[in-house]
């Protein structure tokens, strides 16, 4: 029963993290709804968290995990404030499409 000793190469985790990150960027480039863009940003944060945990595992450093902890805290705070801003914008502009929310004259 070598089950417990089978290991997954860490590079796979890192590749997964990179892929999730890239998908997150694609999301905030291509999506039109503000909230969806925000979701893509959250996705990017999660991808980064995964790579942090991976490296924490490699070096046996607890601080890596604590950093993830802090990232989560900040992401939560950011989500709260960001969503509040989105609500305010929605009230002012009546739309959630980012293409329509610009005051700069072209």
């Amino acid at each position: 029963m070598d089950l417990l000793n089978q290991s997954v190469p860490l590079s796979w985790f890192l590749l997964l993290s990179a892929a999730l990150f890239a998908l997150g960027i694609v999301g905030f480039l291509l999506k039109r709804n503000i909230i969806t863009v925000f979701l893509s940003i959250e996705l990017m944060l999660n991808a980064v968290n995964l790579s942090f945990v991976t490296f924490a595992h490699q070096w046996h450093a607890v601080k890596g995990q604590i950093f993830v902890f802090f990232v989560m805290m900040v992401a939560a705070a950011e989500a709260a404030v960001g969503l509040a801003i989105i609500i305010a914008i929605f009230r002012a502009r009546g739309t959630l499409a980012i293409d329509r929310i610009d005051l700069m004259k072209r």
Binding site: F28, L29, L30, I98, D99, I101, D102, M104, K105, R106
Partner: protein, 654 residues
């Protein structure tokens, strides 16, 4: 014990007068302006008289001439070039100063009465004082550069005073013309200065004269060129051919200005300059010949033009040009003292002529056309008698001043070999013409019936008549000082400064014979004028009708102004308007500015599109930036900056 002469007061007092009257003049009461305006030249005159007291025997304690005052700080001290503020007094300078400050002061007094009603009174006196400052600087200068400062300055003062009534277009134009033509001459002067400096390394008269005296073998060549360049400057300032055109137009200025600047002092600066640098001219016989020829030609040319002018001041202007020609003729035959002698007597009677003409004009309420005058003899007695004295003086009748000086010039011209005889002939003919047109003026103005019925001529106030009287006395006895062999005591006095007069072959009674010829010629001129303008006043019109072509040519001053306009002025205007105006100004300068602005605009337009407000494009650029940074980081970690650039370039190339 030698008392210092304080030469520096002579220029500086008028300068102070100028400063005070120009800055404060408008606010001061008229009597104060007059006082300042008169005290300044009076102060200068007193200093000069003090320096000249040796001439009348009170010379105890006077320092010997030449007397030099130098400012301890040099003006220019660069390597081997050193130029100081030096004021030098020698016999020549003293004579000139007496003329300048003496006649100048009289004209200042005259102006008080003449300009009484003019709103620009304070400005007038400030300009007049400014002129005196520059003129005395010119005369006192101990080196050519300081003289040039004075030279330019009198040109400036002349411009300001000619265009005094600048609201009148003709006056403003005349001022500009005078200044510009002067400038052309000054260019020649400057070239002369540069050549002198490069060849001899000094501009001080004392040094140059010593240098030249120490090398008797130097003649011709570079001297000729230098002297010709200096002479070009003199033609500009002293209104000789071809740069005389400004002087007739300069009559637009007030009459005292014409008397002071364009008769007695400024226009004689050219003669003074040549006398001052005579040691250079003595080494350049070709240049001297050219000077003499130009002088004689100008004298004749101007005299012919004066024959047909109707404006009283224009006649006097052409007469001035003609008499200046005489002075240059004298310089050209190396009789410098004779030129200065004529300069002095001419200052007396020409200033008197102008001032008297001013008195006539003042009496006629501003009328200057002689055809509208006549019969003023009884109405303006003092003016009439003083002007008569001046007219006889300029015509060359003894014992008046002009006889002695003109005679001396003709005598020395005659002595100069074959060329001299021709020059003498020209001079004699000019004397005839001079006598004729001056008496023509005399008759037309004072005799016959009054041709104008609107004017109410009245005699001028004593502030104007006083200087007239003093000048009349000078015109009578001013020439006596030059009576005798070699210009008598005058020539003797000036000899250390201007060199000895040319040696004369002792032909017995030659001088007497020539004098008698001259007097006969002058008499002939008087008689002709008498016939045409007093006894048979209708004759001139008939003569004019008989020779219409010649008449119109001469009365239009040979169309010289028009010629200059077409040949010089029009092409210059064309060039500046099209070449400089369109090509350089609009094209190049404007084009460069347009290009730069266009570039800025263009760059801005490109960058502006980046700030679109479109969040998604911002996001895209963010991603692109992040990609670039990552690429860099990867390649740098793979090995150095340069290598990373190489890797990127290779990847791009593939």
């Amino acid at each position: 014990m030698n008392t210092p002469l304080h030469l520096w007061l002579i220029p500086l007092l008028p300068l102070a007068g100028f400063a005070l009257n120009s800055i404060l003049g408008r606010g001061l009461p008229r009597w104060l302006v007059t006082t300042i305006g008169l005290l300044a030249p009076l102060g200068a005159l007193i200093v000069v008289l003090n320096a000249a007291r040796g001439l009348i025997g009170y010379g105890a304690g006077l320092p010997a001439l030449p007397y030099v005052e130098t400012c301890p700080n040099p003006w220019i001290a660069l390597g081997s070039l050193r130029i100081d503020f030096t004021l030098a007094l020698d016999q020549l300078t003293l004579v000139m100063l007496l003329v300048v400050t003496g006649v100048g002061f009289l004209i200042h007094v005259y102006s008080v009465g003449y300009m009484k009603d003019d709103p620009g009174y304070a400005r007038y006196f400030s300009y007049l004082n400014l002129f005196l400052f520059f003129m005395t600087t010119l005369v006192l200068a101990g080196n050519l550069l300081l003289m040039f400062v004075g030279w330019e300055g009198v040109g400036l003062a002349s411009y300001l005073l000619i265009g005094f009534w600048f609201t009148k277009k003709s006056a403003a134009d005349a001022g500009k013309k005078a200044f510009i033509v002067n400038r052309i001459g000054d260019f020649g002067f400057l070239i002369g200065i540069f050549l002198l400096l490069s060849n001899f390394g000094t501009l001080s008269f004392a040094n140059l004269s010593a240098l030249v005296a120490a090398n008797p073998a130097w003649t011709g060549g570079v001297f000729t060129i230098i002297c010709l360049c200096l002479f070009i400057g003199a033609t500009g300032k002293s209104a000789q051919l071809p740069l005389y055109i400004w002087l007739p137009d300069a009559m637009e200025g007030p009459t005292p200005v014409s008397a002071l600047i364009h008769a007695a002092t400024m226009v004689t600066a050219g003669v003074y300059m040549i006398a001052r640098t005579h040691f250079l001219f003595d080494r350049a016989p070709i240049a001297l010949l050219i000077v003499a020829i130009v002088g004689a030609a100008t004298a004749l040319f101007a005299a012919t033009m004066g024959l047909l002018q109707n404006d009283i001041k224009r006649v006097l202007a052409y007469s001035t040009i003609s008499q200046l020609g005489y002075m240059f003729l004298a310089c050209g035959v190396a009789a410098y003292s004779a030129a200065i002698f004529h300069l002095m007597t001419h200052a007396f009677f020409k200033a008197l002529l102008f001032l008297a003409a001013g008195s006539v004009i003042h009496a006629m309420g501003g009328e200057q056309d002689m055809r509208k005058m006549g019969g003023l003899r009884k109405k303006l007695p003092v003016t009439f008698w003083t002007m008569t004295i001046a007219v006889f003086a300029i015509a060359g009748f003894p014992p008046f001043a002009g006889f002695f000086s003109k005679d001396a010039i003709l005598y020395y011209a005659f002595q100069q070999g074959m060329n001299g005889k021709i020059l003498y002939g020209v001079g004699l003919l000019t004397a005839l013409l001079t006598s004729f047109y001056m008496f023509r003026l005399w008759y037309m103005t004072f005799f016959g019936e009054t041709r104008s019925h609107d004017a109410h001529p009245h005699e001028s106030p004593w502030s104007m008549l006083g200087p007239l009287s003093i000048l009349a006395v000078l015109s009578i006895c001013g020439g006596w000082i030059g009576y005798g062999e070699g210009l008598g005591r005058f020539g003797e006095y000036l000899a250390p400064a201007t060199g000895k007069l040319p040696e004369i072959a002792a032909t017995p009674h030659l001088e007497l014979i020539l004098s008698i010829v001259a007097v006969l010629i002058a008499l002939e001129g008087l008689l002709i004028a008498d016939k045409y303008y007093r006894r048979k006043p209708e004759r001139p019109a008939k003569v004019a009708a008989a020779m219409p072509g010649v008449y119109s040519l001469v009365s239009n001053k040979y169309y010289v102004d028009e010629l200059y306009g077409a040949v010089l002025v029009k092409p210059l205007l064309f060039l500046s308007r099209y070449l400089l105006g369109w090509v350089v100004d609009l094209g190049i300068a404007g084009g460069v500015a347009w290009l730069l602005a266009g570039l800025a605009n263009f760059g801005g337009a490109i960058l502006q599109r980046w700030q679109s407000g479109n969040i998604r494009s911002y996001a895209a650029w963010l991603a692109a930036g992040a990609a670039v940074v990552l690429l860099f980081a990867m390649t740098i970690s793979a090995g150095g900056w340069a290598q990373s650039l190489q890797i990127i370039l290779k990847a791009m190339g593939r």
